[in-house]
Every structure is written in C-alpha cells, then in structure tokens.
C-alpha cells in the first residue's frame, strides 16, 4: 500500500479566468478532499498575483510563463503558470511525490496551456464559461498517467 501512495499522488489542475480569478476549470485527480484543494488553490492566488505584479515586467520580457513553486504546504506543492493574457494555471501535487522535477511540472503546464488553447479555439466555447471539454478531461487524466508510467 505504501508504494501505491507514490503512484497515487494527488494532482489538481486549475485554470483561472484572467481578471476575476474564478475557476474556468478545476479538477482534482482523484476527487477526494476536493474542498481542501479549492481552498488551497484559492489562497494560492495571493501568491500568483504577488508574483505577477512584482516580477511582472521581468517575466514579460523573458516570456517566462512559469511562476514556479507558489508555496509549499505540509502536504502539497502548489505551482503556478500565467499566460500572456493573464489566464492562470495552478497545479497542486502531493508533497510526497518527490520525484517530480521542475521540468516535468513545466511540461505539465505546457500541456495544460495547449489544451486550453484548443478549448479557446473551439467556436462553440464561450470565453469565460466553465470549461467542459472532453479533450481537456482526457488530457488532465493523461497528465497523471504519464507520470505514473514514468515512475513505474
């Protein structure tokens, strides 16, 4: 069971609307203790905003969208990413999942960003609505299985 823990880490992916910071897409895999994640992600917005405003200019010049580790908690690590149009992405992973490197988190964000771009390209998607995309769902589920594969 203990080994399972490593494989079965938690991950939450959130996409936040650019201005109002309401979640466009929030999903935790697995879905238990979702409420806690909602609180965590909501609180992390403080740091996201702080990072955007303090490092805003430098980041824009470097075209660096990845905000890095927003803050660690005892159980989770919260990472942030912000697009040029100020859409925020937040990924929360279990702290026990120590094998995750920064690069992997970056690539998760890139995938999430690509997937989000696809959603935005959908002419039937009304910008600002919560995202209900099957492709996004599969992708986020894939984020997990990718890592599991890598771990195994």
């Amino acid at each position: 069971m203990e080994i399972c823990k490593v494989f079965f880490h938690l991950s939450v992916s959130v996409i936040l609307s650019p201005l109002q910071n309401y979640p466009l897409y929030i999903r935790s895999v697995p879905s238990q203790s979702e409420l806690k994640f909602h609180y965590t992600v909501h609180t992390s917005l403080d740091v996201v905003e702080e990072k955007i405003s303090t490092a805003g200019k430098a980041m824009a010049e470097q075209r660096e969208l990845y905000l890095g580790l927003l803050y660690p908690t005892e159980d989770y690590k919260v990472y942030g990413y912000v697009t040029n149009s100020k859409v925020k992405f937040v990924i929360v992973v279990d702290s026990s999942n120590t094998s995750l490197r920064d690069n992997e988190i970056r690539s998760m964000f890139r995938k999430l960003h690509n997937s989000f771009t696809d959603v935005m390209c959908n002419p039937f998607y009304n910008p600002g609505d919560p995202i209900q995309s099957r492709a996004m769902f599969t992708m986020v589920s894939g984020l997990k299985s990718d890592k599991c594969g890598w771990l195994v």
Partner: protein
Amino acid sequence: MEPHEEKPIIYTMENKPIVTCAGDQTLFTALYSMLAQQLPREPMEWRRSYGRAPKMIHLEANFVQFKEELLPKEGNKALLTFPFLHIYWTDCCDTETYKATVKEDMQRWQNVLRLHGSTDWLIVVVESDGKKKNKTNILPRTSIMDKIRNDFCNKQSDRCVALSDPLRDSSRSQESWNSFLTKLRTLLLMSFTKNLGRFEDDMRTLREKRTEPGWSFCDYFMVQEELAFVFEMLQQYEDALVQYDELDALFTQYVLNFGAGDGANWLGSFCQPVRSWNGLLLRRPIDMEKRELIQRGEASLLDLRSYLFSRQCTLLIFLQRPWEVTQRALELLHNCVQELRLLEVSVLQGALDCWVFLSCLEVLHRIEGCCDRSQLEANFSHTVGLWTYATEKLKSLGYMCGLVSENGPNSEELNRTVDLLAGLGAERPETVNSLQSPYKKLKEALSSVEAFEKHYLELSHAALEMYRAIGRLRSARLVGKSLAEFYMRKGDPQTAQTFLLDSLKSYTAEGWSLPVTHTRKQIAQCQKQLQQTEDYLQTSALLASDANLTDEERKHYCQEILTFANQASEDKDQRMALSMSAFAQLRELRFRPATATVHVGASLQLELRLCGLMPVPVRLEQLAASVHFTLEQPGARPGLAGSQRRPGVSPDGTVTFPATSPSYGSPQSSAAPALELYEMQDRSPSDNALNSTGVVCKNVHLLLRGNDSTSSLDTPSASASALTMEDGAQMLKTNDVTLLPGNNSIVFTAPSMKPGTYTLRQLCATVGRVQFVLPHIYPIVQYDVYSQEPQLTIEPFTESLLAGLPQRVKFTIVTGHYTVKKGDALQLSNSPSMPILHSSSCSARILSSTGELVGESALSIQASEKVTSISLPVTPPYHTLEFQLEVLCHIPSSSVRAESERLTNGEIRHRPKSRTRYNSGMASIDQKVSIDCPWSIYSILISLTFYTPFRAKHSLLSAGKRKYIQVCLQNVSDTNFRLANQTLVECQPTPSLELLSLNAKAHQLVYSKQCMYSLWEMKWSSELPPCLQCVFAASFSPAEAPDSALKPYSYEFQLERVSTLYSMKAEIQPAVGEQQCRAGTLCRLEVSITRLTEPSESEREDEEATESESLRTTKLMYEVVDNSSNWAVCGKSSGLVSMPVAAMATHKVQMEVMPLFAGKLPFPSIKVFKYLPHSALPMTQPDTDSCLENDNLSLLDKGLEDQADTASIRSRGSIHSLGSGEQQQPRGVPMPRLEPFSPGQVFNCSLARQVLVLPSTDDHVLEINVT
C-alpha cells in the same frame, strides 16, 4: 586527536588557522602583536582548484608555540587543529652562534616536520641594526641567510625570509615587513590549497564508497563538516554553506531512495522512533549535543535535520540572508514531516506538531533577534508562512488535546497532553531565563483551555494582520475561516459568523463554488445557533438549491424552511420575506399576444417560466406579481399598437432573463454581467418618421461598476432583510401552485381595464409564513393597454398619384373605441379640381385588430353638388375598415407670364386647396380633402399629392424670315402614354397669322422619361404682332387604355418679338494675291449686317434711335469671338455700328484675322447686341438721380466708347466684363448698356460656316496633333 581536546577550540567561534612558531620565542613575542595586526590588513587572492572562482581573502592566523603534539598524527583528518604553517624565528647574526646553536635547533625542527610530512614551513631571520652596531665585526646578514638557505632550503629559496628592523618606523623596515607579510600570506594560501585539496580528495574518496556496506553517513558527515568548519574559519561562509547543503542533499537523496525501496543500512539508525521533539535550536553557533549524537551514530532524523539546519541558519545569518532562513525553515519543516512519513518512523501523535510549532517560533525568534522592526515589517511575506504554520500546528494540538471544546479535555486527551509535554524534555539552558520562549509558550498553551485560547488567538491574529499588511487577503480570509471554526467550537457563533461572512464575500465574488457552499454551511450553523431565523432560512434556501450538496443535505435545508413555513404563528401578519433567487428563478416570461399591447378590455395572458431550485416539489399558496400602473399619457403613441418594439422582448413576445446561479455568484452575474444591448429608434412625434437609430447598452451602470463593489447585489443573505413587498399595487395572482424542481410554467391573466402602461415589479411566492420575493424584475417587463381614438387615413393605392387620370385611393378607418353604427357616414366636401368618381361596385372590408378579415359589405355612396356621402357598414370597436375610391385631379394649365421665358413649365396658378410643387422633376399638386366623420364634430383635412405626368417646353426657330414654333412634351412619370390630337392655337386669333402643323401622326406613344416634339410653321400676311400667346393642347391616356380614356392636357405660352430684324453675314478672304487662306497669314474678315424690316410701330416709339443727319439710326455693337482658339483677331474685335432704321440698310465691318491652324476652320462667332446709351437707362431702370446723368452725358459717352474697345481687346469676347464692370460701378453713375436681341431677331447667315486654311508654306516643321 581526542574529542575533549577539540571541544574548547570549536566552542569559540574565534577560530583562526594555526601557525606554529619555533626558534626564538622572545623575538616572536616582541613581533607578535605587530604581526597579528598586519596580517589581515590586505586581502590576498586565493586561487582554487577544480575551477572554482578565485577569491579575495583576508588572512588571519592563530600563532602558537611549536610543539610536536600539534602535528597531526597519521590518519587524523581533523582540519581545524591542523597547523597550516610552521615558522622558525631567529635573529642570529653571527656565524658562530648560528653554527653553535641555531643550526642545530633548526635541524631538529626540520626533522620533526619531515617526520610528519609537513612541508609548509618558513624560516624568518630578523635583522636589527642595534645588534649590528654592537658587533661590527660580524659577517654581513646575507651570509647567514645564505647559510640557512644552503643548509635547509635546497631548492626552495623562498622558504627563508629576512625581516629587517621590524620594530623601527622606517621605510626600509616597512618595506621589509610588506615583503615578509606577502610571503607569509602566499605560503599560508599555498598550504591551504594543498592541505584542503588533499582533504577534499580524501573526502571524495570516502563519499564514493557510500555504496559499500558499512559506510556510515555520520562518519562522512563529520569529515565534510570539518571542511565546512575550515571554510567558516576562513570566513568563507558561502563555501561552508555549500558543504552543509551537499550533506543535506545527500541525505535527502538517501531518504528518497529509501522511499523507493532502496534502503541503506545506515539509514536504519535514523528510523528509530522519535522520542524527543523539542524543536530546532538556533541560539548556539554549534549544537554540540546534537553533533555528538551524530558523531556517535545515535542521532534521530529530527536530530540530524535540526543540527544541519542550525548550522545552515548560522551561516546564512553570517551571510546576511535572514529571509532565506525563513524560507528554508518552512521547507525543512514540511520536508521533515514528509520524510518521517516516508521512512515510517513511529511518532507519537501530535509530537510532530509540537516539534514544528517550536521550530517555527524558534526560527522567528532567531530572525527577530538579528533584524530590526522595520526590516521585519517589510518582510512579512517571508515570515508569515511560519506564523501560519505555527498557528495551524497549535490549532491541531489544541483539537487533539481537547482544548478547543467547550467542556475542556477529557482524560484521554489529558494523557495525550502529558505524553506530548514529556517529549519536550527540559527547557534548554539558553532560554530558561527568558520570559517568552517557544518552549514556555507551548507548555503554557497546552496547560489550560484559557491559555490555549490566548496563545492561539495571538498567533492567528498576528498571521492575519501580516497577511493583510502584505495584501494577501485570500490567505488572511483562510486564517479567518480557521478562526471561525475555532470560535464555533468554542460556542461563539457570533464572532465566527463575522469571519465566515467575510470569507464568503471573497469566494462569492470570485466564483468559487465549493468553498462558497462549505462556508455557507458553516454560516447556516452559526445562524441557527444564534437564532437569526430570517438569515438562517435565507441561507437554508441557498443551500437547498446548491448543486454541490448531496440530495439529503439539500432536502434537509429545504425541510428547515418548510417546517418553519408551516408553523402556526399567533401573529398572522408576520411573514418572513426571503429572496427568491435561491428558491426559484425566473427564466422566461411570455406575452400572449406577443406584442404585449392590447386595447382596453382585451385579454392578455402572461406565461411565467419559473425554474424551481428546491430539491422537492413545493406547494405555493400563492404566486403573485405586483404590477405598477402608469396612466397613459394623453396623445402618447395613439395608434401605434404593436408597431413599437419593446426592448428585451423578442418578436414572439418572450422576455428572457439572464440565468444566474443562486448559490454563488456565477462569473456572469457577479463579476461581469452580460451586455444587454437593445436597438433604439427615435421617431419624430409628428409623422413617425425615423430620425435616428442606434444600439443602446442598458446595463452600463452594472458593467462599469467597480469590481470591488460587486458584492452588494450578490449576497442575498445580506440583502434579505431589505426585501419588502410593495403594497397597494395591482397584482397578478395565481393560487395553489406546486412548484416542481426544474421548469414550471405558470399562466396569469393580466388586468387590462384602464389604458396605460403596466410594469411588472416584483414576484412573490408565498409558502405558509414564508414569502419568497424577487424584489426587481429585470430586464423591465411592461405591457400596454391602450384606448384608441378613431382614425381615418387616406393613402394612394399605387405608389404615387398622377394628376389628370383617375386614381385609386384607399380609405382606412381604425375604429378605436368608437363603434360604427348604422347610418354613420363620411361626408366628403367636393372640390372642383378633384372630383370623386364613384362606381357602384365599391365594397368595404372589416378587419379585426389582429388583421383578420371579419366581414365585407357594399358601400353606398351618394353624391350631391357639394358633398359626397359614404355610408359606412356597422363595425365593432378596435377594428379596421378599408375601402377604395377613385378620384381625379385636374391638371392645372400652365400660366403665361408677362415676359417670355424660354422654359415655361406648368407654373403656379393658385387655386383654393391645391398647391403645386416641384418634386424630383415632377410637378406635384397637393389636394386637400375635407371630411366630416361621425365620431367627431370637426372636419378632418387630408392632403393627397398628385404628380403632373408631363413637362412642356417651347422654342422659336427661324430660317431667314421664316418662323417655326416647336413644342417639346416630356413624359416625367413612370407610365407610358399615348398622345393624340396635338394642336397649337392662338389665344386671341390674329387673322393674318396662320399656324401650319408639320406633324404627321395623330397618335403617338410617349414612353416614360422620353420627349415628343411637335412643330408648327408660322405664316403671316401682314405685320406680326409683337406678342403672341399660344396654347398647346393634346389628349393623353395610358398607353394601354382605350380611346375613350383620353384626357386633355394643355400648355400655354407666349412669344415676343418674333420677326427677324437683322441678317448678318460673314466672309473670310485670303490675303491679297493668295488663292487660299494660309495658317499664320492674315486674312480679311468682312461682316455685313443688313436690316430686313421697316421699323415697326412699336419700334418707332420706344426703341433707342437717335436722330442724326435726318436719318434715324440704331447703335449696334458687334463682337468677334473665337472661343476655340482657331483664330487670332488682329486689331479691334468689337465695335459699334450705327444702323439706319430702314429696310435693306447694310453695314459692313472689316477686320483682320489670322488662322492659327490649317484645315477646315469654323468661322469665329460674331455676336450683335443692342447698344443702349445711358440716356436710355431711366427707361428700363428708373433712377432717382437722373439730374446727375445729364450733366455727365457727353463726357462719359466719349470715354466709354474707347473703354468698350479696349476692354474687348483685353479680354476676347467678354461682354460680361463690360456688364460686370457696369454692375460694379457705384450706383448713380449712368452707364451705357448692352442688351441681347431676342433669338429670332438676328439671323446669322454664316452660322456654322467653315473656311479651308492651308498650312503655311514656309513651315519647316510639320505639326501633328494627336488627339
């Protein structure tokens, strides 16, 4: 080396590299202070191995007396006590002494060094002048140096230095000091490099063995830490930190590998159960207790981590990076918790919480100790994490030990507390005496419920304030929420609610549904405890409709409301008003009929689509919509029923309401309301013509509202108390409705008794004592009830009405509130210019207000001389009556004006009730009809516009003396016409005149926009009258109509001065001797003007003739103009001639002209004008100061003739220059005037003649014109 020897050295952090001194101790003692002071003064560059960047380093040294024991034994790796350099001091200056004692001593020293493999030594020879003076016979110093070099430094001559006069203050001694110090520093660094390099190599070798069994991390730790100590000693804190970080990373990796199943044996010692959790200790530079534990391999994971961190912390503070300490501390604490979990170390429940709490506070204390207040405040963002973490841990400890409950801890919890306190051990000596240590805090907090509360609140509020100070409001609210939970546990729902409401606001504003639901549940709990019934019910309603909750929970909250609603209340009037938004949503509202406009008394139905949000069907006793009534403005939009589109209402009469989520402010409703755009049309009130149109955003105030103030609309619980039902208004009601979950359709019948606008204001659902109120219905929903005055309109049946032909017009009567009774009739007053042609087969159609045909009945029309009476069929109110009539508008014949105009189209002849206008080429006639209606005592005047289909022009044509009249008739309408019987007659026939028609056909078709020309020749026997009035008449009908439909058309016009007075002939002849005209050579132009007629009677009387030499003459002015630049007129181009007033009188004028081009050139045009001397002026233009004219007459006359000539030369062919010049003259100065002849009066025989011009012979240039 034994540990007990080591201890005192390490304890003082004043460590310096050890340098031993042998030889003359007194000599050294004398120099010691100087040396110790001078050595660190200048930095030295330290080049490092392994590509590490070189560093500037200030060297210091601890000079100790040389003892053999100081030299490290074989295998001892201690670096701190390692003597890096050995110095031999001597001031021996004579060979004897040297040979006798010093050399021997040095030899011994060298041997000992060699025995221990130490090659870092230096011999210093101190040379002092004082000694030299005393012993003058001694050998020079150099020889001693040479000897020493010879004896000891076989190849390393730099190992021996001289220091001359060290105690003297001379430049020489200074110089020698400097070179000595440099040498010393260099050698020290060399030794460092060599020895540290060797040490590092050994260390690396040791590290590489880590996979071997029996390798111990603790041993390795000690080795690498030794290096760190040396770096720290050299004040290379960065390098020292690197050593610890490497150890940290190595250990972390092992733990991770262990987690992945690859466990190392030595790690087992770290997995021992945690027995002590007294937190980090950062007050000592080195925690020797922990270090010893590590050295002995007895350290637990927490011990190792604590020790490592305390060292890192010390170094970071040396490096002035306190904020990195806080950051690393947080990471460390998280990491330790994870690692213990990963290694499955058994820990007493709560022990880690204690450890973390103590550690957080310890780090914060340490940081506070090295930073001032302002620095701390500026860096809250770095420390607040630790504060929060400590708060969380204390909270969890409190919960665990039963310190949060209202009843206090039970025995099990007390036992736990005791166990936890036991693990803390005794307080450390450093803090025993301080009043506030983390240890004391924790102990106190765990001691009693009150103490816990005090400490917990203190911490929470500190964290809260810090978060607020750095603008992390969300984090602050989360802390607040945690506080709220605490207060709820403590039985203080009032305080809890304050925090919860604050958090809720933030979650709602940002649309986080799960936190909203959760927080709301907690609020509901508080409100229930506080017995805030209204708020509780409101929150319950929101929760009952919350899709995030399970069905059971929703039903529970729903039941709460229903239970309250059904409670019998003594006070019947006391009803609870709650916001409807959580209970049900108004989705759609549909009007039947769709226009939402009905006349008084008509039925209007309103269908509401309500989406029930409750999880169970709810029976409503009553559903009512309050209606606000505004009386119709008199005269406001009287008959525009349905023509005006109401904003927000779709064509099928549906108003759709924006969907809002009740449980939390969904993004659309809370943050960004959707744009509500409406088409706007501004119509002029008089004729309903469109003035302007545009798009209007109706909810700008919502969109432009600041984001921070959004909450006002979206917190129903807060605004619930403000809900009041409007009283006294009209209501739409339905009783006993069951509202099912999901969509419900409810139909109201709207009152329509009074005309006016009805606005739906509120919606109210009553369930027992509870009323759910929708305080504002937005977008605004209105319907109109109108009372309409009867109205009569007459419109052309076709696009436009043509005059002269029978046309159909449509009568429309909108009955409005009037009932057309039997015998009601329309009385049309007849007008002679527009008779009404009534036929027997005329029927009226009756239409209902929705446009359906109700009936058809024949009309009876009676016409008397003055009125036409149309009796109307019986028609109910709010119906439309339509019928058609034929009318004819006579074309008014064109009037002739006194002066002959070239184009006299049908011009005004004012008639009563008709007016002629020109409109897009068609003359129009406004015809007014006066009608008496049965519903009004006043007559209605209705204007109809008819258009004349034709436009006529006439012209007079001449051929010598023969005259012709041409009439052009243009069809300006869109219809094709057949024309017949064109005639031209005089108004007062002159017997001698005959008009001979030259027109062939009797019938001709004139198509739309085409012209027809007719021509008549004038034949006369005697003299022509000066003025001729003619009438052109023709019959016309539409092309396809039968002959009987022919209608007359006439056109009157007047001709004046018809007969030809002069004939003018021009002749161009080549120069003398030439056969043909040539370009560029002068030719002769001869103009002859011949009078053709005897002066008429009228001419004799009023024409400007002057008597001279008994012959009557008229003055004419001629002018030769060539506008096409073919000719150059040489000399005078214009002039005056006096013509005798007699038939066949001829006047010839000759002038020279030069053709400019070769070819057939048209003659230059020659114009002739009447020349009226100024004396003639008063006749045409009566002037007031005629006396002046007479005085200047002769003078001006002469001058003017010259002026006229020169003027015309200056500007060719410009009669206007004269004319305009005349106009610009100040009034009162009499001027001669030119007057053109009427078109028939001068006949130009040579009009359009051409003459052949040959190219000039001497032209060598061939000119080719390409056009």
